[in-house]
């Protein structure tokens, strides 16, 4: 057995598992050893499954009997702490007394189990998916820096090669931001592509479920397993699910790459701009056509997402507000939950009208463009405890800066992916973000996979 097999991508693991060159118990043992050794520093996991070895043994038996379920069969996968699980407690990142969640599998967890994955544990998150910091988790590239959030535990665990896939949730960027800051792939599918049933809600019309992973292909295997209509999620789309692996290894000479020159490039750290410029040149040199455009409506996007997110979160926490449980939340989250009542009904609906305009404007863009390219974050991972950073010519709140380029795709529900595209002068990862038309993950994957195959970023991982 090669050393530390858990650090290898799923395609390699799956082939060896199927041929019997590797066993799921050995893979799980390797993951547990690495978690025991490295996670003391990272604090990316909040809970480990007591029956992980039993799950692995079952998977092994099935594979040996020829009952192979697919690429995830026998592979350890982690899930964010807001995904309900039958075999592990869920806390959604909160220690507040009086807040309890059911012990039952969310739809995504059930689908991962059906795919044969070993659900090895639950990753830390920022409380109730508010916030981009995820304390006390650390960034594996620099333990003095944040992993991002709110799926920061998943980002750190994947970046440190503890598990090849960890599920996250994304309301304004919470899969893509930790993916960018930790140097992993992070995929937010189209709104409705993946069920949110059994994931503790943050904002019903903004929440998306998706994977963080070592490679684009690893996220694709997860997406294949977890996609599909679910009557338990009112937002779940009744849309056919293709085999997303068909988009891997495809040419991009016909691809039209859109570059939104307003908003996405207004104020980024110079290293980020340089890395994205290099990515643009890659696509141009690979034969793609570059199309520049502007989306003036984005000037109003922040107000829209504030109105929708704040009012939704407060509505969800009505019970916690009435019971007083909210007094046990961390101060920043408590304040956000309490202030949602200050958003008026007309302002909320104006935000939903703005959303309609954005969706229609994007549809016009996508008549001439196949994917929209830009940075995931305008900055790289910031030091733990810092709340202001210099980005471009001005000081900015790290929270405001970090989600500036990701939330538009939550407002519009577009599929979007972040993948590694280089490092800044301090050796911190930079993320490239691609977005495509609703339910066109195939084009998104084709574009992302081509970029990944043309570079070696996925082979670089931190020495924790």
């Amino acid at each position: 057995m090669r050393e530390n097999p858990i650090t290898r991508p799923i395609a390699e693991l799956s082939a060896d598992l199927r041929l019997g060159k590797l066993t799921s118990p050995d893979l799980v043992e390797n993951a547990l050893d690495r978690i025991a050794t490295l996670d003391r520093k990272l604090e990316s996991f909040v809970c480990l499954a007591e029956d992980a070895r039993d799950q692995a043994a079952v998977a092994d038996r099935e594979i040996a009997q020829g009952r192979w379920r697919g690429p995830l069969h026998g592979v350890p996968v982690a899930v964010k702490d807001n995904y309900l699980t039958a075999d592990m407690p869920s806390h959604a990142g909160t220690d507040a007394p009086g807040v309890h969640f059911a012990r039952q599998d969310s739809t995504v967890v059930a689908k991962l189990r059906e795919a044969g994955a070993v659900i090895i544990g639950k990753t830390r998150m920022h409380e109730f998916a508010w916030g981009n910091v995820t304390p006390p988790s650390k960034n594996p590239w620099d333990l003095s820096r944040v992993p991002g959030g709110s799926s920061g535990g998943s980002g750190a665990a994947v970046a440190a090669r503890l598990v090849p896939v960890a599920m996250g949730s994304d309301t304004g960027g919470s899969i893509r931001i930790p993916a960018a800051l930790c140097g992993t792939v992070g995929l937010k599918p189209t709104f409705g592509r993946v069920s949110r049933a059994g994931i503790v809600p943050h904002s019903w019309s903004l929440d998306h479920a998706g994977p963080l992973s070592y490679t684009v292909a690893d996220s694709v295997y997860a997406l294949n397993a977890i996609s599909g209509h679910d009557p338990k999620d009112p937002g779940s789309a009744r849309t056919d699910v293709p085999d997303f692996t068909a988009a891997l290894g495809q040419p991009i000479t016909d691809l039209r790459v859109g570059i939104c020159r307003n908003h996405m490039f207004d104020s980024n750290q110079p290293d980020v701009d340089a890395a994205i410029d290099a990515a643009i040149r890659f696509y141009r040199d690979a034969g793609a056509r570059l199309v520049e455009f502007e989306l003036p409506i984005l000037a109003f996007g922040l107000g829209a997402i504030f109105a929708i997110e704040l009012s939704s979160s407060t509505a969800y926490h009505s019970r916690n507000l009435a019971s007083g449980a909210v007094t046990g939340f961390t101060e920043d989250v408590r304040t956000l939950v309490e202030m949602g009542r200050l958003v008026t009904g007309p302002d909320y609906l104006k935000a939903e009208q703005l959303r309609r305009v954005l969706i229609d404007d994007l549809a016009k863009v996508f008549a001439d463009v196949d994917v929209i390219l830009g940075p995931t974050c305008p900055l790289t991972a910031w030091p733990i405890g810092e709340w202001t950073v210099r980005v471009g010519a001005q000081d900015e709140s790290v929270l405001a800066a970090s989600w500036r380029l990701t939330y538009p795709w939550n407002l519009a529900g577009l599929p979007a992916i972040s993948l590694p595209c280089g490092f800044d002068s301090a050796g911190l990862p930079i993320g490239l973000q691609l977005a495509s038309r609703p339910f066109d993950e195939m084009t998104l994957i084709r574009a992302a996979d081509a970029y990944e195959r043309g570079h070696r970023w996925k082979e670089m991982h931190p020495k924790v």
Partner: protein, 60 residues
């Protein structure tokens, strides 16, 4: 009850006075962004959320 108290009660804002100050202060930058929306004339734009009267189990 003064007007501010009446407004808070009407909006269901049950916060002690010292929390009110903190919450209002934290809300200010967000309120400024939300206020920008009011300058847009979106009279003829239907909101992105659309009511569907059929139960989930019977929707196409």
């Amino acid at each position: 009850m003064n007007e501010m108290e009446m407004l808070f009660e009407a909006l269901g804002i049950q916060l002690e006075k010292q929390r009110r100050s903190a919450v209002l202060a934290a809300f200010q930058p967000m309120a400024q962004e939300i206020a920008k929306l009011r300058s847009l004339d979106l009279t003829d734009v239907h909101p992105a959320v659309v009511f569907a009267p059929m139960p989930m189990s019977q929707q196409d």
